[in-house]
Symmetry: C2
Subunit: 205 residues, 2 copies
C-alpha cells in the first residue's frame, strides 16, 4: 500500500477511499494484515488520478468511466465514456434547431461517424448557438473549425494509439487532452499573428 | 451616464471607476453636472467589459490594450496587445531548448511570420515541454496541431475582419475567442469519435 501510494502519487488515505468506494479492486490477501497490489492496480489508480486531479471530474463521472474499463469495454467504449464524462461537465445550452442543422450539415460534409446523442454533440450545438447569439457565427467559421478539428482528432488518436491497456488509454486521453489544449491555444495565437499581417489564407505547406 | 450603463451592461459605479482609472476618456461636458458620451465611449466600454468579464484580465493588462487602441495602433498592433495580455495569463514554464527547437522547425515549415519574443511563443514552448515531460510529445503531433492551428487562426481572422473600429476588433478577438474555444473543443471530440472507430486519417472532404 505504501509503495502503491508512492508510485501513484496519491496518499494512502485517498487510496483507501477509492478502495471503499469500489473504484479500485481489493488487493490479493497475503495474510490478515497485508494485501498485495499489482501493476493493474497502479494503472487503475493513475487513471483515476488523471480523471480526478487533471480533469477534476466528480466521483459519479469517474465511477462511470471505471465501470466501462472494468467491464472489459473496448478502447472505443472507454473513449466514449471518457468524452461523455468530460463533455458532461460543459454546461448544456437549450436546444437550438438552427445550430443543430448547421452542425448536422458540417458533420455530413466531413463524413464523420459520430454519435448525435453524445454530450459532445450537444456541447457543439450549444457553443454554436452562443456564437450566433453574440453575432460571431457563420458557416464559413464552422467549416474551417471542423476541418481543423479533424486534424486535431486524428493527431490525438495517433498520440494515444500506443497505449497498451484500456486504463492507460483513458489516462492518455485525459492527461494528454489537458496538456494538448494549451499547445493548440498557443499555436492558434501564432497562426493569428501570421494571418493578421496580410489577411492570408492558411499557409501553404 | 445612465444610458451608457444600460447599453454597455456595466453599472454606473463600474463606469465611474474606469473613468477615474483613465481607461475611459471623459465625456463632453454639456454643463457642470452633465457629460455627454458618444458611440466611441460605448465601444470602448464594451471592449473593456470583454477584457474584464470574459477574459478576466487584471486591470494592468486591460490598461495595456487600452493604451494601444488609444494610441491609434493598427489592428495588427491591437491584436498583438490583446494576445500578449491573454497569453501573459498563461503560466510560463522554464526555457526548454529542445521544445524551442521543435517549435522553431514547425514555424519555419509552415512559413509563419510570428514574433519569437511574444508571450504566445513562450506559451507554446512551455506547453510542448510539459507534453514531452509527461511522455505525450512527438513531432507528428506538433505538425498536425500546427496545421489545425493554421486553419483556426485563418478562420478567426476572417470572422473578425468585418469589425470597423479597433475597439470592436479587440472585443471580437476576446469574446469571439472565448466563445469559439468551446466549439473547437466539442468538434475535436466528434472528430475523435470518428477516428477512434477505424484509425482513419483526416476525413476526405
Amino acid at each position: 500500500m505504501a509503495e502503491l501510494a508512492k508510485r501513484s502519487g496519491l496518499s494512502v488515505a485517498t487510496i483507501k477511499f477509492y478502495l471503499r468506494e469500489g473504484l479500485l479492486p481489493p488487493g490479493h490477501r497475503s495474510n490478515v494484515n497485508q494485501a498485495e497490489y499489482d501493476e493493474a492496480h497502479l494503472e487503475r489508480l493513475r487513471m483515476i488520478r488523471a480523471l480526478a486531479k487533471v480533469a477534476r471530474l466528480p466521483l459519479a463521472s469517474i465511477r462511470e468511466v471505471v465501470s466501462v474499463v472494468e467491464g472489459g469495454g473496448t478502447p472505443v467504449d472507454a473513449m466514449a465514456a471518457t468524452q461523455d464524462a468530460l463533455a458532461g461537465e460543459v454546461g448544456q445550452g437549450p436546444i437550438n434547431a438552427e445550430s443543430e442543422g448547421a452542425l448536422d450539415r458540417i458533420v455530413a460534409e466531413r463524413g464523420w461517424q459520430c454519435e448525435k446523442t453524445s454530450p459532445a454533440y450537444g456541447a457543439a450545438v450549444a457553443a454554436l448557438a452562443e456564437l450566433e447569439a453574440e453575432g460571431f457565427g457563420g458557416e464559413g467559421l464552422l467549416a474551417g473549425y471542423a476541418e481543423a478539428a479533424d486534424l486535431v482528432g486524428h493527431s490525438d488518436l495517433a498520440a494515444v494509439a500506443s497505449e497498451e491497456s484500456t486504463a492507460g488509454l483513458v489516462r492518455a486521453i485525459v492527461v494528454g487532452g489537458a496538456l494538448r489544449r494549451p499547445l493548440l491555444d498557443a499555436l492558434v495565437m501564432l497562426a493569428q499573428q501570421h494571418h493578421a499581417q496580410a489577411g492570408r489564407g492558411p499557409a501553404d505547406r
